[in-house]
Symmetry: none
Subunit: 200 residues, 4 copies
DNA sequence: TATGAATGAGTCTTCATTCAT
DNA sequence: CATGAATGAAGACTCATTCAT
């Protein structure tokens, strides 16, 4: 359950039992919800189950999150981060490797469970959908930027470059989402190479 | 609400053709469920609501579908068809146009509502997930086949061709699913052209 | 628990156990609610308690009355009747006795419990308030009418007659409502006599 | 929110007079409760809402009033005063005007909100009912006294005078309570005149 | 085959009240 | 005195499912 906001200072601790027990109730609730939402889905998870797993009384869940949906929103809000910094990861002159790097490090700071939730609950609440949209946009932006840096100027068709970026983003998100369900696998490096070749 | 299987024998019926009212209860139930599942999701749709929209008594829903999940399964089963016939749509010598044709006619016979359900409820039941997986596989197979036919022999790298097929399938499904949620748009023709160029 | 809509045919029955047991669930629910609302008030009465007293499962209450307030509304609607027929009860020439008769038979068909509810829950729902308002209006109308018939023409001040009617209505309703709480008693006959004297 | 008891000693305080903000917590709590009870009723008002409106922490409400009902009792106790002093307001020789004066100044020191609470929550707690009963009694006593003073001796029937007093009290209380709900209006002066005429 | 009343476990949510700090 | 997290019993309402007719 990788929380995004671990208080600093916790890191040096010897990771003793305090992790499990001492952590404040709100965090434990979110931890539990993260696990359960990822497993069975938002709708199928009773708040009582969240409380039980978090070892807090039922009422406390509503003390922190007046409505059930607020738990999901808080989760998306606090444990999902779409990095929008202009980090440049491009390898000049090597479009394939530039895309590969992007694939290896999606601009999404989130635990595997939170990723599952992000894709699974896109219909459940606008905030989830928004976050997903922003992720999509950011990936496209980065892919575009990486390609711009990687390709020698003057590059060819600008529109084609855009299509390449969009395509690569589609593949990455498809892999995060449906591939997990259908069992198919995609090798992003191979796709990167393909796209680079198309632009080269 | 385009039902897939109401064709055989229906034409000869002497019963009046007032499709809307006279249609048998089972069909009306599925119609209602299709609309509601697509709109609010399976979990959030009460069977009573289905019955109301279908203008049938509540008990009748359970007469035809003993468990609620059976409605969803029947929907997937009867109103979703992944065409696995070896229809060849390739344009020899023109990979881009071959892929474009594939994009224009996904091997999926299903109403827009059913498509939404297919993607949305992938987690809900194995049968949905299976169907989705089969769709994915079929698209890849067709893309591969189309490319094989379109490209001049001897083609280059077989592995690259496979990657191209997978990539194109990813884009098509991504468009069907997440693009509808995030609001992004992809032009499949442009992607087809890009991929063709990569293989050319 | 005097239901207003006793099906005809029930009357001849020998009032055996069927009264208690055979009566349909909806009626038993209303019976229970009538008793409990009159006793502890609407807000303080849980629906579960209604179900228990009615010997029906909890869910059935909501089968008939989707919202708790609907029970109260149904009660007011079905077990409270403000008689608005122009029944004349006046004794020509005897205003006092005319008013006395009115007092003896309020134009309100309702059990004592329902009367308690009517006054007690006036704040709870508009339908209750409306009914109460109509009762008030009807009493005034009748009092006015009775006085008009009773007094010899030409009567004196029409305005005074109106005030008399309003005053008498106030006394009757006050007696129905607050007197029960404060423990005071009013003799309507004496008030009737007083008013008659004022007009005489 | 006219508090009844904040008079003594408050004047000498050196604390700044910013009544609104500085006022002690207990007073603010009662102010909030007065408003909320009058608006939505005692049962429907959560203590948390009282605390919020009073801008005090939830726990403080229970510091001052260990049980929720204590807030209501304190309100009735401190912000409701039935004046039982033998103030004579009669106009000798003019019964109508004597009663009118009584109507104009009920022996009830309470804000409009408190008046609403007094009538509305008569069922909620004995203390409210008692206060209401005492108010009723006091009005009758005053009406009787006023009439005794106003009418020339020897007066006529003592019983009739009593009935007149009771009737007038009924009208006044009816006006305070049900008239506000039903929307009817009564002119106490006209009633006073009517009654005076009856006795005259 | 058709029907809607019946069932009761379960769901979200509320709230008075306590209590450690 | 003051505070707000903690508690858990209770409340309204939902809903899949059963079943007698």
């Amino acid at each position: 359950m990788g929380s995004l906001r671990q208080r600093s200072g916790t890191s040096r601790r010897t990771r003793d039992a305090s992790d499990q027990e001492t952590q404040d109730a709100r965090t434990r609730i979110l931890d539990a919800a993260e696990r359960l939402f990822a497993g069975g889905g938002y709708e199928a998870t009773p708040t009582a189950e969240i409380a039980r797993l978090a070892r807090v009384p039922k009422g406390l869940v509503f003390h922190y999150f007046p409505k059930k949906i607020d738990v999901l929103v808080a989760l998306i809000d606090e444990r999902t981060l779409v990095e929008e910094a202009p980090e440049v990861e491009a390898v000049p002159g090597d479009a394939a490797r530039s895309l590969s790097r992007l694939a290896r490090r999606l601009p999404l700071r989130a635990s595997p469970a939170m990723r599952r939730i992000l894709f699974r609950e896109a219909d459940t609440h606008g905030s989830v959908r928004d976050r997903l949209g922003r992720l999509n946009g950011e990936i496209i932006r980065r892919a575009r930027f990486a390609l711009e840096l990687a390709l020698p100027t003057p590059r060819g068709d600008a529109a084609r470059l855009e299509v390449a970026a969009v395509t690569f983003a589609a593949v990455l998100l498809h892999q995060e989402n449906l591939c997990q369900l259908t069992g198919h696998h995609i090798d992003p490096d191979a796709v990167a190479e393909l796209i680079a070749h198309a632009l080269g």
